[in-house]
């Protein structure tokens, strides 16, 4: 937990002397990968960050989007992988806490939480099951207590996460533009530490997260207290309403060290503070422990001397700690004292700006040898295979997970979890839709196309609600960046995301990079997770109940793209094949068309085709509507393919549209005008999910039976260790 030799000599030359012990701890925390982004920062600049709706202000921890009528939406994403791998309950819970405070620091009220969870193979890995179960409880206990609805996310299992946990949390905030914290500081302003006490938990957490997980260093894991966080939210929002906050930053990785130095650096000021003024949990803490502790539920607030009393009164009302720990100076120094003695005194820009690295990259050798095609034994019974897929952990219903999250509190949730993307109503009559998506199986086979695919899938999901994508959050998770092959996969993913973002004019409003995600068996698969925020000006598409004789139509081509698919990997245990690739022009046309027909109120529901392909997407519609469907595979638009490939290809840009027969002509005319590839492939009715090829039955499933399996497979496995099929 210290600086590299070369970094130490660099620090010495920058300050012209030997650093003190406390200085060393502060700089080590801030120069860690976790806080400094030293490996990734120079490359992240390629992402487009500006757009007509983006509001930028120095020092914001979250992205801000103008949604009109004087309102803004804020967004951020974080992960808590290392802590969750050691202590899943606390790690996941504090992951929620951290991202919520990022939303709060802009001066907006958090209104939604999303979580992306990834673990090892829970079918045979008991550790993975334990991690999964406890991470879910951690998120539930924290988010539910805060009264912020958890309205979406994803859960995935893959052997590459054996003995590890990927916990990504995204959050959205909402507020009035005029209430945004402006982060403007004036002379004589005071620096206040608000919230929970500073203890010995989470010491060195940011360095812990910047290294491969070798020891289970539990003291580096933070302890969650959602009750204190809830009080902080209310206290901060009241202080915001009363105009008591000049600047604000949450305490996350690197604790006080990072919050103080980053605030000083971003505002171009100096801060002088005294560690003796910090309210601590234990009496004998060292200055450096106080500076790098990552105890949760703390906010750094800069206020004026005249408004301090009012701020203290608010903290008093909520019975939360409020210590004046220092004041603003204009010497650009971070000056840490213990009583009268100086323990650290460094230029803020030195602490806050680690020297950026330019790491070498090289195409991984595995990509040259990975098999692109394989012949499988013919499938004798597709209905049986479907049952197996419906019960597979990656496809089975996740209601066991989101049923534990309060997704109604705040009374904004118009479209509930379990559909493509949830929708929230906003105070200006507009609606917000958001989704996060990842796909490490595809990203492993093709880091560039895989990452683009995650981005497009998240877009598809919000488009299915009638929303236009207005912003993106990227969370780039990879193994050790010093491995040039891993770094290549990082760069490829980033380049792909950049191309897509530029072409679709969707600005990146926030993001995070998490490196050193390594398990005893090696690095994780490249795991970018992309969040997309969409805005609906009029009415969202709330899925309507499908009845007998309603029609099913597919938009988009089905291609021979099964690399990383559940069919290849879960059924045939084959890692390889051709990764689905997004054709940007088709993607745009298809998105526009779906939004068009939703706007014209022509459909009952739109559902995207993703994991498990067409076969699973159709089944999901049937199961949620408790109605059968008869689908003809031979009329599915796209390449001429074998029947298994049509069923399970995971080609992008595809949407399944359900509608009343009477609207067929109108829908067709919109789609023809937009020149998109589409076809009516089936109609609803009866109690069976049927797929035919040239009038020959391929799949014949009872809806109710399929639904039973799909709904109960996950809890059966997690709670009883029982495989359903």
């Amino acid at each position: 937990m210290s600086l590299e030799e070369q970094e130490l000599s660099e620090l010495k030359s920058k300050i012209g002397r030997d650093p003190t012990f406390t200085e060393l701890q502060i700089v080590a925390a801030e120069w860690s990968e976790h806080c400094s982004y030293k490996s990734s920062k120079r490359h992240l600049k390629m992402l487009p960050m500006d757009g007509p709706l983006v509001i930028t202000e120095k020092g914001y921890d979250s992205g801000v989007l103008d949604v009109g009528d004087g309102y803004v939406v804020t967004a951020h994403i974080e992960s808590h992988n290392h802590p969750s791998a050691v202590e899943p309950y606390g790690g996941a819970a504090t992951g929620v806490g951290g991202v919520i405070r990022d939303i709060l620091s802009a001066g907006t009220r958090p209104i939604a939480i999303f979580d992306g969870l990834r673990f090892g193979n829970i079918e045979n890995d008991l550790q993975a099951r334990w991690l999964f179960k406890n991470a879910v409880t951690g998120i539930a206990d924290y988010g539910n207590c805060l009264g912020i609805p958890t309205i979406g996310g994803e859960v995935e299992f893959d052997e590459c996460y054996e003995n590890y946990a990927m916990v990504d949390v995204a959050a959205l905030g909402f507020g009035k533009k005029e209430n945004l914290i402006r982060n403007h500081i004036e002379k004589d302003d005071v620096v206040v530490l608000m919230g929970g006490s500073t203890g010995r938990d989470g010491i060195g957490g940011s360095q812990f997260a910047s290294d491969s997980l070798e020891s289970e260093d539990r003291s580096a894991v933070q302890i969650p207290d959602p009750f204190i966080e809830k009080l902080i939210i209310e206290a901060v929002l009241q202080a915001r309403n009363d105009g008591l906050i000049r600047a604000m930053k949450d305490l996350g990785g690197g604790g006080l060290s990072c919050a103080v130095s980053e605030t000083a650096d971003a505002m171009e000021i100096g801060i002088e503070m005294d560690v003796d003024k910090v309210h601590t949990r234990e009496s004998d803490m060292h200055p450096d422990e106080i500076m790098v502790s990552e105890s949760q539920e703390r906010m750094l607030i800069v206020t004026s001397k005249t408004k301090l009393k009012k701020l203290e009164e608010i903290c008093n009302k909520f019975r939360i700690g409020c210590s004046v720990i220092g004041h603003v100076k204009f010497d650009n120094q971070v000056h840490i004292k213990k009583g009268k003695n100086t323990v650290a005194n460094l230029p803020a820009d030195v602490i806050a700006n680690a020297t950026l690295l330019d790491l070498p990259s090289k195409e991984p050798s595995y990509l040259k040898t990975i098999e692109t095609e394989k012949k499988f034994k013919p499938i004798s019974d597709y209905s049986k295979l479907m049952m197996k897929l419906l019960a597979s952990p990656n496809i089975a219903s996740k209601i066991w997970v989101y049923g534990q999250y309060d997704h109604e509190v705040g009374i904004r949730t118009v479209v509930k979890p379990g559909t493509d993307a949830s929708v929230l109503r906003l105070d200006n009559g507009k609606y917000l839709s958001a989704k996060i998506d990842g796909n490490p199986k595809q990203c492993y086979i093709n880091p560039r196309e895989g990452a683009i695919g995650c981005f497009e899938e998240a877009c598809r999901n919000v488009v299915c609600t009638g929303a236009k994508p207005i912003g993106m959050l990227d969370h780039l998770q990879f193994g050790n960046p010093n491995d040039s092959e891993i770094f290549w996969t990082f760069l490829e993913s980033l380049k792909g995301l950049t191309d897509f973002a530029k072409s679709f004019e969707i600005p990146c409003v926030g993001g995070k990079v998490s490196l050193y995600n390594e398990t005893p068996a090696g690095p994780i698969k490249p795991t970018p997770v992309i969040g997309v925020i969409g805005l609906i000006d009029k009415k969202p598409s709330v899925p309507k109940r499908i009845f007998e004789n309603d029609c099913l139509l597919i938009i988009g081509d089905t291609k021979d793209e099964l690399g990383g698919s559940e069919y290849f990997e879960y059924i045939h245990k084959f890692v390889g094949g051709k990764c689905p690739a997004v054709n940007f022009e088709d993607s745009k046309k298809n998105m526009r068309s779906v939004i068009d027909i939703i706007d014209k109120n022509l459909i009952k529901s739109a559902h995207d085709c993703s994991k498990g392909g067409l076969a699973i997407a159709v089944s999901e519609i049937c199961m949620t509507n408790q109605i059968g469907c008869n689908v003809s595979l031979d009329v599915v638009p796209g390449e001429k393919l074998d029947v298994d490939r049509v069923l399970f290809s995971e080609s992008h840009s595809r949407y399944l549209i359900s509608f009343d027969k009477k609207n067929l002509a109108k829908i067709e005319s919109v789609l023809k005008k937009n020149n998109v590839s589409f076809n009516q492939i089936g109609h609803f009715g009866g109690e069976k999910i049927q797929f035919n090829n040239n009038s020959k039955s391929v799949i014949d499933l009872n809806v109710e039976k399929a639904n039973e399996i799909w709904l109960h497979a996950l809890p059966n496995l997690v709670l009883h260790g029982k495989k359903t099929v």
């Binding site: 409880t137 539930a140 206990d141 539910n144 207590c145 805060l146 009264g147 207290d225 959602p226 009750f227 809830k230 009080l231 009302k317 909520f318 019975r319 989101y402 049923g403 534990q404 999250y405 309060d406 997704h407 109604e408 509190v409 705040g410 009374i411 904004r412 949730t413 118009v414 509930k416 109503r425 709330v542």
Partner: protein
Amino acid sequence: MKVGVLVFPGSNCDRDMYHVLTDVFHLDAEYYWHEKELPKNIDAVILPGGFSYGDRLRAGVIAAHSPIIKDVQKMAEKGIPVLGVCNGFQILVESGLLPGVLLKNESLNFMCEWTNLIVENNMTPFTNQFKSNEKIPIPIANGEGRYYVSDDALKELKKKNQIVFRYSEVVNGSANRIAGVCNEDGNVVGMMPHPERAVESDINPIDNKPSSLIFESLLTKMGVSK
């Protein structure tokens, strides 16, 4: 008429309840922090849901000792309508204003889902607009929502018509599928499901009219015309 919405540290449905009272039913409502006194001119009191004191020790037990609860007790004795929702129900039970206790759900998990209530007692200030046995689609969201009373106490509740709402099917293992009860006088009602999440059509996927009757009952009781 004026409705007081109590706010405890950790309440998190107070704003939702306030919105429904003021924006949907156009009532005069005001928040009261748990350390404040309730003014004499309050016509009804609502304890909203949330996690008062982070559910520490037991849901609702610490908030039940808040200064404001003494005033709620006085008002309850005077016959003023009092409604506790979710954590508010837990607080009313812990403060002795309502019988029974609320235990961890049978699943041992927090549960958030839509369910159906059956109105058992349509004489309370919050149910007087319902027909007996009317069905209400409504969401629950709780970890400690399993209502429990002893068999003898349950007989008493039935005899005195204190069971206000029951779930239409087994949801969380509650005794007699009880979802809400009232005191002997019928003016203090507690319920685990969230009516404030079900009265607006755009967030209620089934039917928002039945839940609205809970608030319309209060309006009727107060003599406010719709």
